[in-house]
């Protein structure tokens, strides 16, 4: 067995009498990739923040290299070789790569002036160490998401990190960038760096991780070698129930659905640089899946139909009539709703209550001569909180305090209240725990049963296969395949369709 580098023993932490972590043990070996998984609210981020010195445990001990340590603040943790790569990067977009990775520890000459030459040289070395050929002089703001993340990693390496914590590192990456990240992780492993890998994507765990620890409701429920476990095993431990990821939608009756007039017809729709000549129909009661790699134009397509992006030419026809959509408001008047890709920046107003967020699109409907009928609003929102099982203290709770899954349910709730005929969902389950994920899938199915048209844009293929009647594959701004659900055997086949597009 490889040598142990970190051991956390009996870690307990509560906030205001709510126990978030209870007697959690966690250990890391040198040069391993250790998956840390659990539903939102299971305590992953609290555990990580204790390790990073952001929080202090109420009880429990932390050993690094068999020596007991106290991590009183993030600086101490950093000195002990612990670094976090957050989902939102901590880079300064206007500065160059070398300035960013040397921030706060710039090499200086004897007059106290920054030694740029040395800085660029050193930066280049670090970048090469992890197999990157980025120019140290490039401005970070011009980089792709994947490259920004690589710069973050380079920064951590420069700080001589022994333990690197990656929080959902692939959530914003393309397949190719993910591949690159995995190469870097393997390189780091070889050099003896240990990595804590937090993810919701089970597949990646089996691809890259050596061991896994599962947390549930603040307790550790499993630590195991990856090779000794299975997907079912992990999901069972996470949810505490034997929940299968549903792979097939019950008897897709797309055939008779398609006989009616389409709710939505998209003809030759094009938007500069984003996509061109997109054609499809959406029928009442149908779930249409759209997938493709990052940069395929699927998000921009949704934004164009919803009136956020401008179309260059082509037509959007709603229930047989040509629709003039110039703004989201126009789209909403035609009965279209959009659940955007980024719920934190586009879907929600984080510092406002569940109530405000949920009724925002439908507010006018709740008014008598401009005055909001408060009681009716409250009853409606209470109803949606019950219906979607949104976990919250009250309907006045600010949505920023909710977990990712519950936040996404609020976004869905606001459109359920608005009640559009056509709902476009862009990555509806991103960053959402397994439990909420299957609930969201159920909601989508129910909407279709009610005769609405739903477009689900997703890169989670099992999720698409679980709900869609038809799946469109996009690549570089073009529709390349349109497949009936029945034609697709399994996830691998769909993946192949995307990769070969």
């Amino acid at each position: 067995m490889k040598e142990e580098i970190l051991r956390m023993v009996n870690i307990t932490k509560s906030f205001n009498q709510v126990t978030v972590l209870e007697n959690v043990d966690f250990d890391m070996r040198k040069g391993e990739v250790h998956a840390l998984v659990g539903e939102n609210g299971a305590g992953k981020s609290t555990l990580i923040k204790i390790l990073a010195g952001v929080y202090q445990p109420d009880s429990g001990k932390i050993f690094i290299n068999n020596e007991e340590v106290k991590l009183r603040n993030p600086i101490e943790a950093k000195h002990r070789g612990i670094s976090i790569i957050y989902q939102e990067f901590s880079l300064i977009p206007t500065l160059s790569i070398s300035y960013n990775i040397f921030l706060g520890k710039e090499p200086k000459n004897r007059f106290g002036i920054i030694d740029r030459g040395k800085m660029v040289l050193e930066a280049k070395k670090v970048l090469e160490k992890i197999g990157l050929n980025l120019k140290p002089e490039s401005v970070v703001g011009d980089l792709s998401t994947g490259n920004m993340q690589q710069v973050e990693i380079a920064k951590a390496i420069l700080e001589n990190s022994k333990i690197l914590i990656m929080d959902e590192p692939t959530s914003a990456l393309t397949e190719a960038e993910t591949e690159k990240l995995f190469n870097i992780i393997n390189l780091l492993k070889e050099k003896g760096t240990s990595i804590i890998y937090i993810t919701h994507r089970m597949k990646e765990i089996f691809q890259i991780c050596d061991r896994i620890t599962v947390l549930r409701d603040g307790k550790k429920v499993l630590t195991s070698e990856i090779k000794d476990t299975s997907l079912q095993d992990i999901i069972r431990n996470m949810t505490g129930r034997n929940k299968k990821i549903e792979v097939l939608r019950e008897g897709t009756k797309a055939l008779n659905k398609q006989s009616k007039t389409p709710l939505l017809e998209v003809k030759n729709l094009s938007s500069s640089n984003n996509f061109s000549s997109v054609n499809f129909n959406l029928f009442p009661g149908e779930v249409l899946g759209i997938t493709g790699l990052l940069g395929s134009g699927k998000t921009e397509l949704a934004q164009t139909i919803f009136g956020i992006e401008k179309k260059d030419f082509g037509e959007i026809i709603i229930k047989g009539d040509i629709a003039k959509i110039k703004s989201p408001k126009d789209a909403m008047n035609y009965g279209i709703g959009l659940i955007p890709e980024n719920r934190r920046t586009q879907g929600l107003i984080l510092n406002q209550s569940i109530k405000t967020n949920a009724v925002l699109p439908s507010l006018k409907r709740f008014c008598n001569f401009f005055i909001i009928r408060e009681k009716e609003v409250m009853n409606t929102v209470k109803g949606i909180i019950r219906q979607l099982k949104i976990k919250s203290k009250s309907l006045n709770e600010e949505v920023r305090f909710l977990s990712g899954g519950n936040q996404q349910k609020v976004v869905i709730g606001k459109w359920l209240i608005y009640d559009p005929d056509i709902l476009i969902m862009d990555e509806p389950t991103i960053g959402v725990d397994v439990g909420a994920k299957s609930e969201i899938i159920e909601i989508i199915k129910k909407m279709a049963e009610e005769g609405k048209g739903v477009i689900v844009i997703s890169s989670e293929l099992n999720e698409l296969l679980a709900v869609s009647d038809r799946i469109i594959v996009m690549s570089r701004g073009k529709m390349v395949k349109e497949l009936q659900r029945e034609e697709i055997e399994n996830e691998e086949e769909l993946q192949r369709a995307i990769q070969t597009a």
């Binding site: 956020i308 703004s327 879907g347 107003i349 406002q352 925002l360 008014c367 005055i371 909001i372 305090f401």
Partner: protein, 315 residues
Amino acid sequence: MQSKQREMNFDWRKNIVYVVFIIIFAFFSILLFDKGFLTTTNILNIFRQTAMITIMGVGMTFVISTGQIDLSVGSITALSSITTAMVLRSNLGIILASVVGLGTGLLVGLANGLITTKFKIPPFLVTLGMMEVVRGLAMWITHNAPIPIINQKYNNLFGLGNIGGIPIIFIWTIFIVIIGYIVFNHTPLGVYVLATGGNEEAAKYTGINTHKIKLITFLISGILAGFAGMLYAARMQAGRFTFGDGDELSVIAAVILGGTSLNGGKGTIIGTFVGSLIMGIINNGLIIAGLDVSQQMVVRGLVIVFAVAIGSKKD
């Protein structure tokens, strides 16, 4: 969990304006009891002195809640006092004078709003420029001379009169605060304002025309500043280019002190009212205590810094 903790902190912050109000009021009441701080006359005096700041503050609350700022309000009061006085001088009647006074503010607000939203110039810069332009206009059209108002009916209605012993200016203030409160808290506009300030992109994705909302807040701010100018004119029985000089800072301080977030997304009309009273009490108390103008300025400046310190603290 951690969220609960933050929420509690926030509640404390939200209510701090009332705590500060009580402390300052109690402080001056005890300290200056013998000097007549607590007399009805003096309390009414405080209301009279803070009326314009409160009224402009109501408009400013809308503007700041969308994450913008309006530095032109002080200058608007000067120009609208003059346009109103000019209409009255020509004997065209109180109604037309009022329309012109409010219209002056509306036009400046419209200019502010259109320039910020159409040309995407930060409101700070647009209204800073407009502050100069408008006061310059006020000086220009009057050749720096006051325009007296001899229409006593107007002066009584908007400045000097009393109803049952209550100064009419105070009644106007309460009226504006109530209307502002209802619009801010019970109509879609208020919700859209907070949504725009809280997260403009998400508001757009919800079908809110955020440019229109921002424009409307400038119109509200402009009209209310125009109204404040009408009150100045009535109280001083003249239109004058010096009115409202520096008021924009007192207004912003009152709004922030009241608990409205300078970053947008959080606002309170009642808080603004109380914030403005706090400023008024400090001014009044210091005068009664015998401090001279320079010392008053120092204290008031410190209060503004204090207010902004609270307002810009991240929650």
